[in-house]
C-alpha cells in the first residue's frame, strides 16, 4: 500500500483548506475530543434547532488525516437531522474499520463517494484514530455525552 493511496487529493484538499474551521458565533452544543497517543485535539461546535443540525464547525490541531476528516465531517453533517447524522457517523466509523454497514443503502451517493476517500486507512491501522476522532467527537456532541473525552477511552 503506498502513501499516495492514503493521501488522496480530496484528503489533501480538505487538510490544506479545511472547511468550517472556526468557532460558531452561536452554538448550543460543543465537545473537545483528544487523542492521547499523538496529542491531536478536535473541538466540535454545533447549533441545533429541534433535532436539526443547523450549523457545525470545528477547531483543532492534528495531522492531515485528522483535519481532513474533521473538515469533511462538518460538510457531511451540516443540515442533517440528528438521526441521519448518526447513520452517517456510523457509516464512516465502519468504513475506516473495514466493517460491514447495514444502513449504507440509506446514504446518498455523493456523501458515500467523498467519505470513501478514507477507505484506504484500513491499511494503516495506526492512523484509524486520526480519522475517527472528529466523527466520534461529533457523535459525543450530538448526544450531549461529555464536554471532554479521549479517543483511547472510547468503546
Amino acid at each position: 500500500m503506498s502513501s499516495k493511496n492514503l493521501y488522496q487529493d480530496l484528503i489533501l484538499d480538505h487538510a490544506t483548506n479545511p472547511r468550517n474551521k472556526e468557532k460558531l458565533n452561536f452554538f448550543n452544543k460543543d465537545t473537545e475530543g483528544f487523542n492521547r497517543l499523538c496529542g491531536d485535539n478536535i473541538h466540535v461546535f454545533i447549533h441545533e434547532n429541534n433535532t436539526m443540525i443547523d450549523n457545525i464547525s470545528f477547531l483543532g490541531n492534528g495531522c492531515a488525516i485528522c483535519i481532513a476528516s474533521a473538515s469533511l465531517m462538518t460538510e457531511t453533517l451540516k443540515g442533517k437531522l440528528e438521526s441521519d447524522a448518526m447513520v452517517l457517523i456510523n457509516y464512516f466509523l465502519d468504513l475506516v474499520k473495514n466493517k460491514n454497514n447495514e444502513e449504507s443503502i440509506k446514504i446518498d451517493k455523493v456523501n458515500q463517494s467523498s467519505l470513501e476517500a478514507f477507505k484506504s486507512i484500513v491499511d494503516f491501522p495506526m492512523r484509524v484514530n486520526c480519522a475517527t476522532l472528529p466523527w466520534i467527537t461529533a457523535e459525543t456532541t450530538i448526544k450531549n455525552k461529555n464536554k471532554k473525552f479521549n479517543i483511547e477511552d472510547y468503546k
Binding site: M1, S2, S3, K4, L6, Y7, L12, T16, L37, C38, G39, N61, G62, C63, A64, I65, F124, M126, R127, C130
Partner: protein, 404 residues
C-alpha cells in the same frame, strides 16, 4: 570501523514493506545484537534458576551471573567504591524510586525541586507527585534559542529551599547534552544532591560517575542494545542507607516476625521480588558489545552521522530543525513546513524508515519550542550514511505527496 556492525543485528535481515529497514529510532529503544539475544536464550535453556534464594548449583551459578552484570555495569559507568548499582524495571522506575524515596524523607511543603525544560516526562511526573502530595515547588532551568540549557541562570533558581536538582544527561528530542560538570559543581557549592536521567547518555556518551560525582544516575538496558525489562540506578551508598525501601516483599528483608521486620542492607534492600533475571544476565552481553566497539568509536560515529544529517537536511526546502544546540549527541528533531509529524512518519514508514513523530514524552519542551510535535531522528551504532540518503529521499517524497 563500524561498517559491518549491522550484520550482528538479525532484525536488519528483514524487509519492512518490501524495503530495507532504516532504523532511526534508537533514542526510543535500540535494536539487539545476536549475542544479547543468544544470552537470553542460553540462560533460559541452560542456566535458569531464580537468584539470591536457593543454595543448589543452578541457583548459585544464576546468582553469580546476575551479580557479574552488576560488577561490569559499575565498571562500564566508572563508579567508585561509594557508589552502588541497583536493578529496576526501567529508567522510569529508577527515577520514580529516587523521587519517591527522596521525597518521602527530605521534601516538605514549600521545598523546591529544580528540573530543566528538556526533561522527559519520566523525569517530571515523579517529581510532580511530590508537588501534589507534599506541596513541593518545581522550577525549570530554561533553554536558550539554540536549545542549550541556560546554565548561568541555575544559580538564580537555587534558594535555601532547594532540595534536589534532577536533570537529563542528553535530551531525547534536541540531542542537547547538559553541562553536567557545571551543574554538579554549582549544586555541590550549595550542598544540593543531583539526580541525572542518563537514559540517552549511557550508550551514546562518555559516562564516568567517579569524575561526574552525581548522587543518582538512572538509565535503562533496552536503550543500550540490551533486553527490555531492566532499568538501572547508580546511587551513592549513603542514599541506600538513608532511603526506606521502595517496594516491599521477598528478597529485601533480613528477618520477619509478627511484630517487626528488618530490611536487608545494600542493594538487596531495593530489589524486592523476582527480578528480570534473564534480562539482567543478558545485559552483560550488551556491555561487552559496547566495550568491544569502544565508546569513543561509537561517539565519533554518531557525531559524524548527526553532522552529516544536519547538513543534508538544512539544505532541503521546508525542513526546519527544531533546535541547534552547541553540545549535541546523536539525536535531533525536525518539522516539514505544513506537514504534521505523524503524516511524515507514516510516509517515511512506507519507505522502510522508522522515525518517531509526536512529542516524544516531552510536552513541556514542545511548548517552549512553540510546536505541537516533531519528527525525531536518532542514531545507533548500526546506522550508516546510506540510511541518511534514504531519509532524504523519503522526505522529498513527503513534500511531493503534499505537492510542495
Amino acid at each position: 570501523m563500524l561498517n559491518d556492525i549491522k550484520d550482528q543485528f538479525p532484525i536488519f535481515k528483514n524487509k519492512i514493506k518490501g524495503k530495507r529497514l532504516v532504523y532511526l529510532d534508537s533514542a526510543n529503544s535500540s535494536q539487539k545484537p545476536q549475542s544479547v539475544i543468544d544470552a537470553v536464550n542460553n540462560f533460559y535453556a541452560n542456566d535458569f534458576s531464580n537468584v539470591g534464594r536457593g543454595i543448589y548449583t543452578l541457583a548459585v551459578s544464576a546468582s553469580e551471573k546476575y551479580e557479574l552484570t552488576r560488577t561490569n555495569i559499575k565498571k562500564f559507568i566508572g563508579t567508585d567504591n561509594e557508589t552502588e548499582v541497583i536493578f529496576t524495571k526501567n529508567a522510569t522506575e529508577s527515577l520514580n524510586l529516587v523521587a519517591s524515596c527522596f521525597g518521602e524523607k527530605f521534601i516538605n511543603k514549600g521545598d523546591e525541586i529544580i528540573l530543566t525544560e528538556l526533561e522527559h516526562h519520566a523525569n517530571y511526573v515523579p517529581w510532580h507527585f511530590l508537588r501534589q502530595k507534599k506541596g513541593a515547588i518545581i522550577k525549570f532551568l530554561p533553554i536558550d534559542q539554540y536549545g542549550d540549557l541556560k546554565i548561568n541562570e541555575l544559580e538564580n533558581l537555587i534558594t535555601n529551599k532547594t532540595k534536589i536538582i534532577s536533570v537529563t544527561h542528553m535530551s531525547n528530542v534536541t540531542g542537547t547534552i547538559s553541562p553536567l560538570d557545571k551543574i554538579i559543581s554549582i549544586a555541590k557549592k550549595h550542598n544540593i544532591p543531583v539526580c541525572v536521567d542518563g537514559t540517552q547518555g549511557a550508550a551514546h556518551l562518555d559516562v564516568n560517575l567517579k569524575e561526574l560525582d552525581c548522587d543518582f544516575y538512572a538509565f535503562s538496558g533496552h536503550k543500550m542494545y540490551g533486553p527490555t525489562g531492566v532499568g538501572l540506578l547508580a546511587l551513592k551508598y549513603k542514599w541506600l542507607e538513608l532511603f526506606e525501601p521502595f517496594l516491599g516483599g521477598g528478597g529485601m528483608i533480613d528477618f520477619v516476625s509478627k511484630k517487626e521486620i528488618a530490611y536487608a542492607r545494600g542493594v538487596w534492600k531495593m530489589e524486592a521480588g523476582t527480578m528480570p533475571t534473564a534480562e539482567v544476565v543478558a545485559l552483560n552481553e550488551s556491555i561487552n558489545f559496547i566495550n568491544n566497539i569502544g565508546k569513543k568509536n561509537i561517539i565519533n560515529h554518531e557525531n559524524e552521522l548527526t553532522q552529516l544529517a544536519l547538513e543534508k537536511l538544512q539544505n532541503m526546502k521546508s525542513v526546519k530543525i527544531v533546535a541547534n544546540p552547541k553540545l549535541q549527541g546523536g539525536v535531533f528533531s525536525f518539522n516539514l513546513d505544513q506537514i504534521h509529524s505523524h503524516d511524515v512518519s507514516t510516509i517515511l514508514d512506507q519507505e522502510g524508515v522508522a522515525v518517531r513523530g509526536g512529542h516524544h514524552c516531552c510536552q513541556v519542551l514542545h511548548d517552549v519550542l512553540n510546536i505541537n510535535s516533531s519528527v525525531r531522528v536518532s542514531f545507533g551504532v548500526y546506522n550508516t550514511s546510506e540510511d541518511l540518503e534514504v531519509l532524504c529521499e523519503s522526505i522529498k517524497k513527503c513534500q511531493k505527496i503534499f505537492k510542495q
